[in-house]
């Protein structure tokens, strides 16, 4: 710390200029930043679930869909069919779209007398109402299209947009959205959904809300800072630190080409709380020392030496806490953790160099309101002191009770990876989703791939019969519907080849290879969606209405059971993949990564504080309050049924990172006071009244800042704001009440112990 002090005193202006230059450079690169919302981006690159998904997508032309539904309130009229067809054509021209399927371009196998035809269901668009009626008549006899391409009552038409595996999801989404909004401007009723649409909407809403709310967050923080310091620099310096670290972090990401993930959009809010904390503590000490008659230069030195060390310990612990997220197997959480760790490191460096350098360069302050007597705050601190000294056991007891209550509900916390729950019921996204679930059985598909292990293996009629039974069984599972495979194509062909006789609407008994020859022919190879080139494996596509993660798990378990019952003992190899499978995998990863990162964050905090404070006992004192905070956070989630999702799973880690600051500041001040007043209770009292101020300024500013998120239009962001606020208050109380109570209790036990020893 002496080095930093000397450095700051020697080159204050150079530090200021260098900081601003670096910030300017990184600020320029901040414009390069991109946000990636791809579901697969959340997984590690080599994750087997993603690799399987990609392999299947690659082979069968993409397993991720966007779904555009056109409302056709008058049924499939001439104009409705023309609109569907023009949409189909325009959507198909978008780069990154592999295929577009709608009622106007879908291929069918049609038979009449001794003629058979493989071709478009609608070869020519109708010009008259009679022709349109003919088409409706034709569709109503084809179970393959009802409830998949057209709703049963003909009031909605489905357009499935299949994306190429390597497509830029955002670009495709934008292009589709442009087309959709133009159609809607013409008075058409449209609904747009699908898992890529959901993630894009989430990113857009998150980004929009954060950009909209960040000025208000800043304003609230500024008001509280003004109340705390009553000086311009007291308001501006903490915010400048926040913005330098924010620009630095986002700019650095842009510079090295790292894209932000959907949760990294919460980064600004985080840096507001952590970055301002460092500045507040340093400023509060600076004013406190000056009030006691110490000169400006010396006050800066003292602040660096006394508070600076606490800031460094707190900073390193927080950086370690977030770096521990780097151990997560989930890419998004890993990236978020490392990025935030970097941001905090910047905030830390700027706080102990740029901030004191500015204080040295600026004119000396005239007022020191932050350190002067304040009736309200001091009354609160008096009460805290009283509680700590009189009832430390009650404090510890209450906390133990809360921990017990939390532990009881923690197993009941529900993980949730279904993004649809993020959207309000009345939102367009939710309405589109509900409609597609109700009319078309869902916007995502479960893919069951059965590999027979030998060329032409799927041509065995007995094998196909088993596939058929599996399909029927799978369709019986709630939320799964419309299974589709080569079996359905063969049934349709069989019927067509027998003069449209419904008695032949079944699998052919023999000669499958000959049937497949015809299916492979035609302007579009409909077979290639369902059978591989070697006729070795086939694909069953089942539509999946999206559900809560818990239900998805149950559904997948049943699918696996059925698959094993049919193919478990024979030589076939079955793979089940699709967006729901990735979602379920994501849920597992969130849980394991959550547990792992939390344990390591607490352990890190304990180890680092133990090393830096040169004692395991001290390390324990500093880390117990945050461990408690984390437990209580989960307790609150359990009791209020808040699901554990990608956003809320971050809060515990944030609590560790930020919460420890309060404890470390309190503890280092307590130790400093202990050197001057050997009496423990008096030292605690002093610490509560001095560092308590900075802690409460910080806690109030950050809690109020997080509460601004309650004005978000986006439920997960509101939940995040609320939980973070509560967590901030809990960590503050943990540091200010629990920590001193623990010290008192510990010392009383020890002295009793010593007394007993002495008397014996």
């Amino acid at each position: 710390m002496h080095f930093i002090r000397d450095f700051v005193h020697r080159f204050p202006k150079s530090i200021l200029i260098a900081t601003l230059l670096i910030t300017g450079f990184l600020g320029y690169h901040a414009f390069d930043i991109t946000i990636n919302t791809d579901l697969r981006h959340m997984f590690p690159d080599d994750d087997p679930a993603v690799q399987t998904f990609d392999r299947i997508s690659e082979k069968y032309g993409g397993a991720e869909f966007m779904v555009l539904v056109l409302g056709t309130p008058d049924g499939l009229t001439v104009s409705a069919l023309h609109t569907i067809d023009s949409l189909t054509t325009r959507l198909g021209e978008i780069t990154g779209v592999s295929k577009v399927r709608s009622i106007t371009n879908i291929e069918e196998i049609h038979g009449e007398d001794l003629t058979v035809e493989v071709g478009p269901l609608v070869p020519d668009l109708p010009e008259t109402a009679e022709q349109a009626a003919d088409i409706r008549q034709k569709i109503s006899h084809k179970p393959r299209y009802l409830g998949t391409m057209v709703s049963n009552d003909f009031r909605y038409a489905n357009i499935l947009i299949q994306m190429k595996p390597e497509a830029d999801q955002k670009q495709v989404y934008q292009a589709v959205e442009n087309i959709r909004s133009r159609v809607e401007a013409n008075g058409e009723e449209t609904y747009f959904t699908g898992s890529p649409v959901l993630t894009e909407e989430i990113a857009a809403r998150m980004k929009g809300d954060i950009i909209r709310l960040l000025p208000f967050v800043s304003l609230v923080v500024m008001l509280i800072l003004f109340w705390a310091f009553r000086s311009v620099r007291g308001v501006l310096l903490p915010l400048i630190i926040v913005f330098i670290s924010l620009i630095g972090t986002i700019g650095f990401s842009g510079w090295i080409g790292q894209s932000l993930s959907i949760i990294s959009t919460g980064l600004p809010i985080l840096l507001v709380s952590v970055g301002s904390a460092y500045a507040i503590h340093l400023l509060a000490r600076f004013y406190e020392d000056q009030l006691h008659g110490i000169g400006r230069e010396e006050a800066v030195s003292e602040s660096i030496l006394n508070v600076g060390i606490a800031i460094v310990i707190a900073g390193i612990t927080t950086v370690a806490g977030f770096s521990s997220l780097g151990l997560s197997s989930l890419s998004i959480i890993k990236d978020f953790g490392l990025l935030t760790a970097f941001g905090i490191l910047v905030a830390l460096l700027v706080s102990i160099t740029f901030l004191p350098a500015s204080l040295l360069t600026l004119r000396p302050p005239k007022r020191f309101v932050s350190a002067e007597r304040r009736r309200g705050l001091d009354w609160v601190f008096d009460r805290i002191s009283t509680i700590v000294h009189r009832y430390p056991w009650y404090v510890v007891g209450t906390v133990l009770l809360c921990i017990a209550l939390s532990l009881w509900v923690i197993p009941k916390i529900q993980p949730e990876t279904n993004y649809i729950t993020f959207f309000p019921r009345e939102s367009n996204v939710r309405r589109a989703h509900d409609l597609v679930n109700a009319e078309f059985g869902g916007a995502s598909s479960l893919e069951i791939i059965i590999d027979t292990g030998e060329e032409n293996g799927i041509e065995d009629p007995a094998f196909l019969q088993k596939v058929d039974s599996l399909q029927q069984a799978v369709a019986g599972i709630p939320m799964l519907s419309h299974p589709m495979s080569v079996v359905d194509l063969l049934e349709e062909e069989n019927r067509a080849l027998h003069g449209d006789d419904s008695a032949f609407d079944r699998l052919p008994d023999a000669g499958i290879a000959q049937y497949l020859l015809l299916l492979e022919s035609g302007s579009e190879n409909i077979l290639s969606d369902f059978v591989d080139f070697d006729h070795r494996e086939l694909r069953i596509r089942v539509m999946n209405g999206s559900t809560k993660s818990r239900d998805t798990k149950g559904i997948l378990d049943r699918v696996h059971q059925l698959v094993n019952a049919s193919f478990g003992s024979s030589g076939e190899q079955v793979t089940v993949t699709g967006v729901p499978v990735l979602g379920e995998k994501l849920m597992d990863l969130i849980l394991t990564s959550q547990i792992r990162s939390l344990i390591s964050a607490v352990v890190f905090a304990f180890l680092i504080t133990s090393v830096l404070l040169k004692s395991i006992r001290r390390g324990a004192f500093c880390s117990i309050p945050i461990a408690v905070t984390v437990l209580l956070n989960f307790g609150i989630m359990g009791w209020s049924a808040i699901p554990l999702d990608v956003a809320t799973s971050m809060i515990a880690s944030i609590a560790v990172g930020i919460g420890i600051d309060y404890s470390i500041h309190f503890y280092t001040r307590y130790r400093e006071e202990l050197r001057n007043h050997s009496d423990i209770e008096q030292a605690l009292n002093r610490a509560i009244h001095t560092v308590g101020r900075a802690n409460s300024f910080n806690a109030i500013a950050v809690t109020a800042g997080f509460l601004v998120l309650l004005f978000s239009t986006f439920p997960p962001l509101r939940m995040f704001g609320l939980l973070s606020s509560v967590t901030m208050l809990l960590s503050f109380l943990g540091a200010m009440i629990l920590l001193p109570s623990l010290i008192v209790v510990f010392n009383r036990i020890r002295s009793t112990h010593v007394d007993t020893n002495l008397s014996s």
């Binding site: 003629t115 058979v116 000669g511 022919s521 302007s523 080139f533």
Partner: protein, 258 residues
Amino acid sequence: MYRTYQLVLTLGLAALLPGALPAQDISAEQVLDRVENAITASSAEIHLRMELTNAAGSRRERSLVAYAKDSGDRGKSYIRFTAPADIEGTSFLSLEQPGGGEEMYLFMPVLGNVRKIAGSQKSGSFVGTDFTYKDLTMLGGGSYGEDYQASILEQDSGRYVLRLEPINKDITYQYAKMWVPSSNWFPTKVEFYDKDGQLEKVLTNTDLEKIDGNWTAREMTMHNVQKGTRTVLQMEEIHYNTPISDQIFTTRNMRRQG
């Protein structure tokens, strides 16, 4: 989706040799006429092997025999699979109609019966290959003049490069490019450009050989550059102008041979 409609071109299985004319200033239409005239043998019987390769490099093989006959202005063709065993006997028959257009029939041994195939089939892929029905059913000869308008893109002493613009609205190509050497008027390469003007398929004719006095490509490769797939036809046995009975080109024969 994109059709090679009517582009037999290359399946100039019955290339009459018009003789090595000097590459003088002739019009694009004249070049096209000479290419067309080169494919007017009265009949052909070809035994060929068909090798399909997908983008990943997997292969499938089929063998078939094709008969083509030109009786007056009505072309007839009959294609029958001979291997592998599970599709042996499956056959296609195509008969040109007097008023233009043609009729197509399919025979599947498992059905034991003949089915007529309705129109839109013919311009699509032939049994999953990169060739279309048209390509293979017009073995007896075809006419580009009806479907394409030609212009000369390049010419030098030995060859012409033609640009073929479809005038038949059923053809979804934007245009095709054809390389024709003036030595034998047998196209060596044709490139097909899709409706966006992107190269979609390339046909190359190799192992040119004179059989029964006709220039013939022993090997023809259609490469779909967009999908990465490839179909190679290898002519194993070719007989030109041998008498082929009209009885071959009947649905009764399909059933009998299946």
